[in-house]
């Protein structure tokens, strides 16, 4: 276990906050579908199946309220996407927010991209804490003044008002995806971003909504020949010409946009060789990559497949440099996980700010953390039972067979409806956000 043993890299995770309703009956719309910190970590955004975005802001530390140090409170909330029906294709378009990505902050306002299956939107979130008073042509309540009664001219004065946070859609990037968008990623040039669906990847300019460039197209001429789909894509954090995309066959392709306008031919191809004798019906399904994330350094990337997380060195294509087992005990449950569709669950993964640790979710509201330096791992649980302020989280253990020790939970007792698919790590500090169905948990490292 990672916690409590002492030593430089050990974390001691403590409960900080939980957001969301307590009731057992979870409305589908309330299921959180994406979680993302902004570049400074000051803001934390969530998207849900109901198409709504909620943004939390971290409280400044103040002497008046020492206990709320670093707490995240609601800053803004808005309806980003609405359900649509495409009558031409007989296609129901869900309002579920698949991904939120923040833009780097350039002025007082904050910008983020949010996307559902078909449409990406750029939202501007701005604060208004001043109001102009003393207009010449209208009253304070907005009624027009009779011009003949105006005898003097005055200069309106800016008066303070209660803080108002407004969200407004600045750009709508629509009609560029035939299939379902699974990823968006802002480029390091801060001018462009990519959006990926099952078969295609498009490059957009943030200012231009009526055009996008198709940079990857893996749709076969004959759909009967379809063997794999794109599952995730991301721009390199520093090299604005490089991006990667992962596939349902467990491979990753790195592309260089300088090489050609259409990046159908990869520059690098990452695949771990498979032992052919161990191949089974499930092999390809569990090898499907559900998330790919570059390290902050840009030197590594991490992929998540059904049972493991792999770290790849961009300079080595033939195998990952590190492999971490998330829940290997599920390998002997694949039959029932296939039958209840859990085998298709798409787990995400994330790096901490220094790239020394990685985190990903599992079932039973468990989530896993791996320290890349010490090779230690820990399993923690997001649960209201352990939600006293600053209560330290106890490591959890799954018993795989034989005698179950006290405090261990057996594989058959795991609740597969309690999935942690979305987690986020603060870019600079040891603060993590974990989405457990309709609840958002925030944990902080005690030594923070």
């Amino acid at each position: 276990a990672m916690a409590g043993v002492g030593g430089g890299n050990d974390f001691q995770w403590c409960f900080s906050q939980v957001k969301g309703a307590i009731d057992e009956d979870v409305a589908e719309a309330d299921i959180i579908s994406t979680v993302e910190f902004n570049y400074s970590g000051e803001l934390l955004a969530t998207g849900d199946k109901g198409g709504r975005v909620v943004i939390f802001q971290r409280e400044q530390e103040s002497k008046n309220r020492p206990l709320s140090r670093g707490e995240y409170n609601v800053y803004s909330t808005f309806q980003s996407h609405e359900p649509e029906f495409d009558y031409l294709k007989s296609l129901e378009i869900e309002e579920k927010i698949n991904k939120i990505r923040w833009l780097p902050q350039q002025n007082a306002a904050h910008f983020l991209l949010s996307t559902n299956d078909k449409t990406i939107k750029l939202w501007k979130i701005s604060e208004r804490d001043k109001r102009a008073e003393g207009y010449n042509l209208k009253d304070e309540d907005g009624r027009l003044r009779d011009p003949f009664r105006i005898t003097t001219l005055r200069v309106p004065v800016l008066m303070p008002m209660d803080l108002m946070v407004e969200a407004s859609p600045r750009r709508i990037f629509a009609n560029a995806h035939t299939y379902h968008i699974n990823s968006i990623s802002v480029n390091s040039d801060h001018e462009t971003y990519l959006s990926a669906d099952d078969l295609r990847i498009n490059l957009w300019h943030l200012e231009i909504t009526d055009r996008s460039f198709n940079i990857v197209d893996i749709k076969p001429a004959n759909m009967e020949e379809l063997t794999e789909v794109i599952t995730a894509a991301e721009c390199h954090p520093h090299q604005c010409n490089v991006f990667v995309y992962s596939s349902s066959k467990g491979t990753i392709r790195l592309c260089d946009m300088r090489a050609a306008a259409l990046c159908d031919r990869h520059s690098k191809f990452f695949e771990e060789p498979e032992d052919p004798s161990s191949r089974s019906f499930f092999s390809e399904i569990i090898s499907s990559i559900s998330d790919v994330k570059f390290s902050h350094s840009g030197r590594y990337m991490m992929t998540r497949d059904y049972l493991s997380v792999k770290v790849w060195d961009l300079n080595m294509e033939n195998r990952p440099v590190e492999t971490y087992q998330v829940h290997e005990y599920l390998r002997s449950k694949l039959c029932s996980l296939y039958e209840n569709d859990c085998i298709f669950d798409k787990f995400e993964c994330c790096w901490n700010g220094s790239d020394s640790a990685i985190m990903t979710g599992s079932y039973n509201n468990f989530f896993r953390m791996f320290d890349r330096n010490t090779r230690r791992d820990i399993t923690l649980e997001a649960s209201r039972e352990n939600s006293k302020p600053r209560a330290m989280l106890k490591p959890r253990k799954v018993c795989t067979g034989g005698k179950r020790k006290k405090d261990e939970i057996s594989v058959d007792s795991l609740d597969f409806n309690k999935k942690i698919l979305h987690t986020a790590w603060h870019p600079k500090e040891n603060v993590i956000a974990v989405a457990a169905t309709n609840n958002l948990y925030i944990f902080q490292d005690k030594i923070n």
Partner: protein, 118 residues
């Protein structure tokens, strides 16, 4: 070492290899055991699960109702009154009737604010 001992040793080694093979066959990988379980329940399951059927189902997510295939299935169903046998793939049973825009449930955005924002 005498000839006889050598032969005896060799025989012993061979036996051990055979025994080893037997043991290996009994100790099936958990994944293969799960595969056997699945194939026992769904004997018609294709051998290429990651192939086009599964992927095309994924691509068609959200496809709700009417297309010419549905139309023809509905017509055929009304004629034969015969439901297609349950297949291993979890396909949605469409083609029960020919929907019209009036039938489609009107999905409105949720008017309630997110409970996270409370």
């Amino acid at each position: 070492m005498s000839n006889e001992t050598e032969i005896a040793n060799q025989a012993m080694e061979e036996a051990t290899t055979e025994e080893q093979q037997e043991m290996q066959d009994k100790v099936v990988s958990p994944e293969k055991a799960e595969e056997a379980k699945l194939k026992a329940r769904y004997p018609h399951l294709g051998t290429k699960p990651g192939g086009s059927d599964l992927l095309r189902k994924r691509l068609q997510k959200g496809q709700k109702y009417f297309d010419s295939g549905d139309y023809n299935m509905a017509k055929a169903k009304m004629k034969n009154k015969q439901l297609p046998s349950a297949t291993a793939e979890k396909t949605e049973i469409t083609g029960d009737h020919i929907p019209t825009p009036q039938d489609l449930p009107q999905r409105k955005p949720s008017l309630v604010a997110s409970k996270l924002a409370v």
